[in-house]
Amino acid sequence: MDTLKSSFREILRYPSAIVGLVIVLLLVVEALYAVIAIPYREAIRLWRSGEETWYANPKFAAPAWINLFREKKLPVSFHVSSVDGEISKVATPGTQDISTINFEYTFDFQADGFPQELMLYFTTTYETKQPFATIVLVTPDGRQIRVADTGIEHKQNVRFSQQPKLISRYKDQLIPEGLFSDPQAETPTALKGEYQLLIYGTTFEAGSDMDVEFVFHGQVSGLAGTDMARRDLVVPLLWGAPIALAFGLLASLGTSLLTMIIAAIGAWYGKWVDELIQRVTEINMVLPFLPIMIMIGTFFSRSIWVMLSAVVLLSIFTGSIKAYRAIFVQVRESMYIEAARAYGASDWRIIVRYLVPRMIPLLIPGLVSGVPGFIFFEATLAVLGLGDPTLPTWGKIINDAETHAALYKGYYYWILEPAVLLMFTGLGFAMLGFALDRVFNPRLRGV
């Protein structure tokens, strides 16, 4: 216990260790938050669902906070609904079961760019006679632009870009650009101010009702932006942390523990056991590691558990097993092992209780330093398109971005967000492991 305490105090003497420790702790907190805030099943559902969940987000939208760094502001996406009371709804009953339902929503538009699309999602109840709606957009300078007059089915969405009235009005212009630009300006310039969306609904039956959701696809959205399937990147960015940590820690722990135990067994039993381990190691070193992993991913399974086991299996029999063996062979001859043998300890007891614990000072730094390698390896597989098909991971985001030429098209946020997280994770563990190495291996301290 005391040695642990003193080692801990020793670690704190290295600034890089403190930085590393802080990063690792932050990641652990973030991972815990992700797992609690978005339960596993929910995260998978969100990651794998399409339009039905994510219709309210624009595609390829940068995060909203980039407006802070831009002189020309981009419109922020939002969606409001009359069910939640964000859109004011006034129903007036009339004669012969005909009643009017009027919706009104005012929003302040202060961006310099134009939105991608505007949409209305109607939900109505009726028996036979369809309700009817007239949609009007009032611009800050008082123009009333009629968007559509249309009958409304039980569930109907109205895309502004597909409305014949608007198409004939803005012939050679994108519809949202036409709606939001200043008619006086020579080049298309956004007209800033309060816009008003008015919907005059009419129902023709008793008990017939109408509700509407207004979806405004801007050019920026949310805290992290969106991808090609309108998915909010917050979900995979948050969930990438627990997956990366789990993969990195499990792989590193499994590899170092198994390597050590196998090296100890080889050194203890000697003879053919040792010989076999040596030969297996030499064969394994000739095997091409990454191609074999790619083959397993392509032909067999991309499940993260299969990959994890394969990585561990291939990483056990490497140069480190030889390094450990050399030390174990020395330790085998020491007095306390002799003593254990004298009181009749079994082989297994000597290996597990006397040989392996002796190596813990070597094991811990190696374990921590090994984590970034495995985390980046998981990302590498994902970038090659071999990531686990169900899980939202950082590597998968980079892979999606790569296949959609994100850098070429200027969606920098898409690659930068996961890359920066990966970098911090890698740096955190590498710095910590580096400092641990110096604390636990005093021989290195001088150099």
Partner: protein, 374 residues
């Protein structure tokens, strides 16, 4: 990887006088060659089995062939006048032919042993699906065609990395504790990230934002006809992937060498040389570099054969038409001959290097005796 080739302490053991030197060297070389050969054979057979997933890939390929040909016959214009029966028969014939072409009619064991014996004798054979740019299916030609670009990329970046880090480390080891020394140590964790990771950042900065270097590829399209311009374009395309490969290994490599040199510079004979008042240059060359030569040679040799494997992900990210990307594509096509060919050549190169290193040690380090220990 280094461990195989590390000069083992056994070799430095005091020599036995009972056998003559020649007999000892021959016997040692013989045993070493046989073990290395067996190692290579087993490793290659394992690779072949993994490339077939123990027969799983066979079933996959059969299904694919059946589906493709049935579709082809069912929807092909040329076959629309045939009766259903005739179509079925034709499809079956075509399926049998294709299965025969890919040797899927032979049992897995026979086929894998065939692959193995061909691989061991370096008869690389014909690819199943892939072809070289000239249209040849010869695996040898496919590999030879991609080899120069990989040699260029990996060779330039790895050689630069090796020599730059070696000499920087040598000078750092003499300025232990200086600002630069501390800076390099602080930057060592950057090597935790693989080259493709830095590649992405480099593309972002130099290709996307600054627009001064290309996103990827070997030369600009269409390829310049003028030789000098071709060379310039090649150089431009080489810059980003080469630097990514270089940078990813740079700080760790310096750190490794620096620590290694530091251990050797605290040897008594170095102190002695200092005390004698030898110049720093002489101490570096005769008292630090000379005894560390075996390790330097080992690392250099392993680096050279590492070049052969190419850089799968970096080449893929940068669209660099090298061996790494070819291997990745071959795996995508289930093209076992190509996969096995790259594996066997690597295995042979590794085995030969490991074998030769023992002799090179004995040449450069008089303390080492071949087969001296056992």
């Amino acid at each position: 990887m280094e461990a195989i080739a590390q000069p083992s302490s056994e070799m430095a053991a005091p020599k036995k006088k009972s056998t003559s030197a020649l007999v000892r060297v021959v016997r040692y070389s013989g045993v070493r060659l046989v073990t290395l050969f067996i190692t290579v054979v087993i490793a290659i057979y394992l690779t072949i089995m993994i490339a077939n997933m123990g027969g799983y890939v066979d079933r996959m390929m059969r299904n694919e062939i059946e589906e493709n040909i049935t579709m082809q016959v069912a929807s092909g214009k040329a076959y629309q006048n045939l009766t259903t029966e005739a179509k079925k028969e034709l499809a079956q014939q075509m399926i049998d032919l294709e299965i025969k072409r890919l040797h899927l009619d032979q049992p897995l064991m026979v086929r894998t042993v065939g692959y193995l014996s061909n691989a061991i004798t370096l008869r690389l054979g014909r690819a199943l699906q892939m072809a070289s740019d000239t249209g040849s299916r010869q695996v040898r030609l496919i590999i030879l065609e991609r080899l120069p670009s990989t040699l260029l990329l990996m060779g330039s970046s790895q050689l630069l990395l090796f020599f730059a880090s070696l000499f920087l480390a040598l000078s750092l080891s003499r300025h232990y504790g200086s600002f630069w020394d501390k800076l390099i140590i602080a930057l060592t964790p950057t090597s935790a990230a693989p080259p493709w990771f830095y590649g992405i950042f480099l593309i972002l900065i130099f290709a996307a934002i600054l627009k001064i270097l290309p996103f990827g590829g070997l030369v600009s399209a269409p390829p310049p006809t003028d030789q000098f311009e071709y060379f310039l374009s090649l150089l431009q395309h080489l810059l980003l992937p080469g630097f990514a490969l270089f940078f990813s290994g740079f700080f760790l490599s310096i750190y490794g060498w620096r620590t290694f040199f530091l251990i050797y510079s605290s040897e008594d004979y170095v102190e002695m040389a200092k005390a004698k008042g030898l110049s720093a240059r002489d101490i570096e060359r005769r008292y630090i570099l000379r005894p560390t030569l075996p390790n330097i040679i080992t690392n250099f040799a392993l680096l050279l054969i590492g070049v052969w494997q190419g850089a799968i992900v970096t080449e893929t990210i940068f669209n660099w038409p090298g061996l790494g990307r070819t291997l990745y594509q071959a795996i995508g096509f289930n093209d076992t001959p190509v996969i096995v060919a790259t594996a066997i050549i690597y295995a042979y190169l590794l085995a030969i290097t490991v074998f030769l290193l023992d002799f090179i040690y004995a040449l450069v380090d008089p303390r080492v005796k071949i087969g001296g220990g056992s």
